[in-house]
Subunit: 339 residues, 2 copies
DNA sequence: ACCATAGCTGTGAACGGTCACACAAATAGT
DNA sequence: ACTATTTGTGTGACCGTTCACAGCTATGGT
């Protein structure tokens, strides 16, 4: 029942008739151990199902081979999607992952998250940080200089980070509508305290102005389908003088679609609607949604890769990696109806 | 730059003019330390921002205050949703969480996942296991007797587990359709190698038979919207003799909805469609989807609670906790059209 | 006045690894 | 043939905690 004491290096050593140090060498692939001995010990380890004790190891080496992931807004598609690929990439790089999800990004919460992670002696921290809150410098300060990479955080060249160029996404989809002939374009934005939401919002405005048009009304949503529904209702109550709506994510676009249908407005015949994210379901919306694809998988994976790079070379110059989103054309966008 | 050596118990002790053991007592809230001393040490710890070293601690205590979460199918709504609440509950219970996502559930993969976790000396393992694969006994064997709780795994009273009673969900939604007057009901099921999918499938059949009707055709989908779309196309190519379709999750229902519309079939006037899960977007589908709510948050939270209970009391009799799903009526289901 | 007990504090030895070093044997260089 | 080097192996100290135990002081019961 209760397991006999866990195996240790010494147990293996005794069985193999060598010293514990030799076993340690084998485990860590150090040179200078006879091929025959190495093999014998390997076999023994497999046979006895021995696992080195991570605590002891990281105590001795001061490295934990562990990465921390601090994330916010896991309820949303993007962050959740990233976690999968982050875990995978971390494992591939030989690191374990401890997870810390912060509900909000107040200083206290983040401090707690980091504190709870600090005693792990993690080798690095990956932070998904979609909204301003505790400053990066602060976080670094709290974490005592552990290498940290930020995903989708503020645009600051002093911060090692990797992010999707939101402005580009917003621009290409707005230009797509402009090319179709739309001139009166409204927006349902995300919560403007999110970096992504703000960048998309501003880029939409700039693109409109650059094309010589005035940006239409903009309603602030909350990323959810219900929120998109309400935002669209609100927009319709303010004006009907638009032929296209740029929605800041796909879920809200779904809600917007529904609100339009409730009013008997057809998409794309009467109004074009475009989203952002390209969630897997977007192709089955009614109608299938024109949107912008963000490669969350690439984002997560490159985040880990860059973090590992920084761990191995902490004094390298700081980089800001950028990933560009792509336009996905479907059926929810079409030329405006001739008036 | 490079941080001066991390603080240790001894540093604090020296500063406070006491022995390291006293500091240790303060940290662990042990009795027999003068109130005045305790306060002074607390202040010092806060001031110097000292964090006990987790590795050393777990080496000495043989407890890591860490739980492992092994999960499969993180791409799907349910598991992803659970992770959030599992992390939260774990933190609330004073445990950290290490994450291991297995792509598939072959014996090798799971073995890797468990092995990579074993050297953590985790205090417990939570396993989200939606499909058969490596047997629980096997897993336990590999993990060397660490307390383990399974979420949504096989129905086996020898396994500490917590799951949603899928059969009930499937029954109540089928009965809902029967009560509306439907008699010819088809199904789009999940991949039948998933426990959940199989249970829902069988329960649908049984409910139909119990009511005196023959179950209609059943097409196997893959949980995705696209898969639901194709499944519905396939179903329509086989038969049109049905007035309702039970779909095994909401995403597939979305695809099914679209396939029906492409054929000019109206929902719910011509055909009723019901889903399963109650994803947040379901209320904004076209039409809003009648579905079954699974409380993934409760599932995750209770999973942790039960695991902690087992850690503290490993010899307690094994329990199988059940959570019951609830019917959510919306607009995609209605009485069948009179022929 | 004496001993038992409760309250508070310190000392040495683990926990299970790694590192720096010492050492023996085999090989190579001159 | 003698030394220098490479290869293989073992020993002691240490990483930063906790645990078991010992010791000292104050208090209280008889």
């Amino acid at each position: 029942m209760s397991s006999t004491r866990r195996l240790t290096l010494r147990d293996i050593a005794k069985q193999a008739g060598v010293s514990y140090q030799t076993v340690s060498r084998v485990i860590n692939n150090h040179p200078y151990v006879a091929e025959e001995t190495r093999q014998r010990i390997h076999d023994l380890i497999a046979e006895l199902d021995y696992h080195p004790n991570k605590a002891a190891r990281s105590l001795a080496t001061r490295r934990s081979h562990t990465l921390a992931l601090i994330t916010f807004g896991m309820d949303y598609y993007g962050p959740a999607q990233m976690v999968i690929h982050i875990e995978r990439a971390a494992k591939a790089a030989g690191y374990d992952l401890v997870l810390s999800i912060a509900g909000d990004i107040s200083r206290g919460t983040v401090q707690d998250a980091i504190a709870s992670i600090m005693h792990w002696q993690v080798d690095g921290i990956l932070m998904i940080k979609p909204v301003p809150g505790v400053a990066y410098d602060d976080a670094i300060d709290i974490s005592g200089g552990v290498p940290t990479v930020q995903i989708n955080g503020e645009k600051d060249d002093r911060i090692p980070s990797i992010s999707v160029e939101q402005a580009v996404g917003s621009r290409i989809i707005t230009e797509h509508l402009l090319e179709l002939g739309h001139q009166h374009i409204c927006e349902i934005s995300g919560p403007l305290n999110w970096y992504d939401a703000l960048e998309r919002h501003e880029s939409w405005q700039q693109t409109m102005r650059a094309a010589g048009y005035k940006p239409g009304y903009s309603i602030e949503g909350d990323w959810t389908a219900q929120g998109g529904y309400r935002a669209m209702q609100k927009l319709l109550s303010i004006t009907r003088d638009f032929t296209a709506v740029v929605v800041a994510n796909d879920q809200m676009a779904l809600g917007a679609l529904r609100a339009l249908r409730m009013e008997g407005i057809r998409v794309p015949e009467d109004v074009s609607v475009v989203g952002f994210d390209d969630v897997p379901e977007a192709a089955c919306y009614e109608p299938p949604l024109t949107t912008v694809r963000q490669e969350f998988d690439v984002l997560g994976q490159q985040g880990i890769e860059y973090l590992v790079e920084r761990i191995n070379n902490p004094d390298a110059p700081i980089e800001r990696h950028i990933i560009y989103p792509a336009l996905i054309k479907r059926l929810s966008s079409a030329p405006p109806r001739r008036l």
